[in-house]
């Protein structure tokens, strides 16, 4: 009992500031403005809420689609429902055309984009590393990249015929300038003092390029590849629609249009989306695995 009795005495001095008698009587008004957790600019939200909102977002898109398919077009073929689209997709898969079309398109993308990335990395590293290289190529690249790649289609058809070559060429031309300029930017972001450190440790220029500039730029280059891959698919569809393809997802799309198979067209569009998301995730994974140090 003595201990509890002693407490108020000990606290007497300390609690004076918070003493209710000293508190002002004016109505409590807050200072500042409280912000709701959902709408704080760049504010973080809990993971569970993030997932829930993500699911909700996708559900909303499907709901809109469904409403459009049933109400707006009145059940006609103009806007197929998600289930009709699914059935059309399954049909494409069963008939085997989905796979052959995917293969044909993927092969064009692979060739075209491999060439584009190859050129992009070599020229981009050159421009990003050497001012001389930059000065010599700046004007030409600045000019060339403003020519719409699609405008070159007729020219490529004359030069390269209607085989695979013009399609691959279109993919290259449509993406290579982005790849070059963005790679150059990535290379320019290597800290100068990091390069200087390597020099003072006895590295020559070639070693600095191979052992400092390239490893530092690698995750950025994978990101460049990931971002510009979307443009490659864009060019692929243009090429397949206009450069006389016999198979391919773009070709299949045009063919479905000729027969008013809107459900098939929807299915192909969704296939494009799925491919895009998969390659995006794949390249993110590649970057995270090969450059653990650069993980966000």
């Amino acid at each position: 009992m003595t201990t509890t009795a002693a407490d108020p005495v000990a606290d007497a001095g300390a609690t004076r500031i918070g003493d209710p008698a000293r508190r002002t009587r004016r109505p409590r008004r807050g200072r500042g403005r409280k912000q709701h957790a959902l709408f704080r600019l760049r504010g973080d939200i809990p993971l569970s809420l993030r997932i829930a909102l993500g699911v909700l977002g996708v559900a909303a898109v499907f709901a809109l689609w469904w409403v459009a398919a049933t109400a707006w077009s009145g059940g006609s073929f103009l806007v197929p429902t998600p289930t009709e689209t699914w059935d059309a997709g399954v049909e494409l898969y069963r008939s085997g055309t989905l796979w052959t079309d995917f293969e044909a398109s993927a092969e064009r993308i692979l060739w075209g984009y491999a060439i584009s990335m190859g050129v992009g990395v070599v020229v981009g590293v050159g421009i990003g590393s050497f001012r001389s290289f930059e000065a010599a190529s700046e004007a030409s690249i600045g000019f060339l990249r403003y020519i719409p790649a699609t405008a070159l289609t007729p020219l490529f058809l004359i030069w390269l015929g209607i085989d695979e070559a013009p399609k691959i060429a279109l993919i290259v031309v449509g993406t290579v300038f982005f790849n070059i300029l963005m790679t150059a930017d990535v290379v320019r972001s290597v800290p100068l003092d990091m390069i200087n450190s390597a020099y003072t440790l006895g590295a020559g220029r070639l070693r600095v390029l191979r052992k400092v500039v390239l490893p530092h730029s690698w995750p950025g280059i994978v990101d460049v590849a990931r971002i510009n891959l979307a443009a490659a698919w864009l060019m692929l569809v243009v090429a397949e629609l206009s450069a006389g393809a016999q198979e391919g997802l773009g070709f299949r799309l045009a063919r479905a249009q000729r027969f008013y198979q809107v459900d098939t067209m929807f299915a192909i569009l969704i296939v494009f989306g799925v491919i895009g998301v998969s390659t995006d995730l794949g390249l993110r994974w590649l970057r995270n695995v090969t450059a653990k140090w650069a993980r966000p």
Binding site: N196, S197, G202, A203, G204, H216, K292, W293
Partner: protein, 264 residues
């Protein structure tokens, strides 16, 4: 053979900077960063350069490192002119320059790879250096996992690895908090004593310069030039107590006055 041929002209050992001038072109105008700097560092010496920011002290170090060319004047080491950067002049920068994709041990090994040292020897040398800087336990860590002070220790170990003739330190503790900074000063002093290196150290911190340097060059700004050279009256073995020595405090005030008047 006659005796004259046997004794060629002996080049003075150590770093010698004579009449160093460095001009920069800034939008057509020429700006003088360094104006006739004379300086020398004898082998085994710890020399500090102190000056306000913008006095060209970093430029001076970069010229010695071979990262920038002098506009006029001579810079040589053991009689050799400096043509470009090399592993004989190790450098540590203020910013963190460790290679973030390499482990601590791999960072320290970088300079040894450049000189194609055999793997076995390299491993032993890296271990030795990590022992000296007290980071043996972190050999396999990535730089991102280390504190600022630890990163600069690794950077110092990396620069020491190829056994440079001189170690150039450009405000290596500039980005560190005050406590870490003090312990890093202790650390650097110990490393210098242990490895018997030659060090040229640039800082804007007067205490740091006086505590670490055997000789302190005080640089005036705009353009950068040597204002005074101070021979620090404490021996090579000194502890933090030196910072409370009256002579230390006098010198401190003297340098502070010099820098204030030079800038005013």
């Amino acid at each position: 053979m006659n005796a004259v041929a046997m004794t060629p002209e002996v080049a003075p050992r150590g770093l010698h900077v004579a009449g160093l001038v460095k001009d920069y072109r800034v939008r057509r105008a020429s700006r003088r960063a360094l104006d006739g700097v004379d300086l020398h560092v004898d082998p085994g010496e710890f020399v500090a350069i102190v000056g306000a920011s913008g006095c060209g002290k970093s430029t001076l170090l970069r010229v010695v490192a071979g990262l920038e060319e002098p506009s006029a004047g001579a810079v040589d080491i053991d009689g050799d002119a400096i043509l470009g950067p090399g592993p004989d002049r190790g450098m540590v920068f203020q910013s963190y320059t460790l290679f973030p994709w390499r482990t601590v041990a791999e960072n320290v090994a970088f300079g040894l790879e450049c000189s194609s040292m055999p793997r076995k020897q390299r491993k032993a040398r890296v271990e030795e250096l990590l022992g000296i800087v007290g980071l043996a336990a972190y050999a396999k860590s990535l730089p991102n996992e280390l504190s600022g002070g630890m990163r600069q220790r690794v950077a110092i170990a990396r620069a020491l690895a190829p056994s440079p003739d001189i170690l150039l330190l450009d405000e290596p503790f500039g980005a560190l908090d005050a406590q870490t900074r003090r312990s890093m000063q202790e650390f650097l002093h110990t490393v210098w004593r242990r490895t018997e290196s030659t060090i040229l150290f640039v800082t804007h911190d007067i205490d740091e310069a006086l505590y670490l340097g055997q000789r302190v060059y005080v640089l005036a700004s705009h353009p950068g030039r040597v204002r005074t050279v101070i021979e620090v009256p404490f021996g090579a073995s000194r502890g933090p107590a030196v910072k409370r020595d009256p002579r230390f405090l006098d010198l401190r005030d003297e340098i502070e006055d010099l820098l204030d008047s030079a800038d005013g």
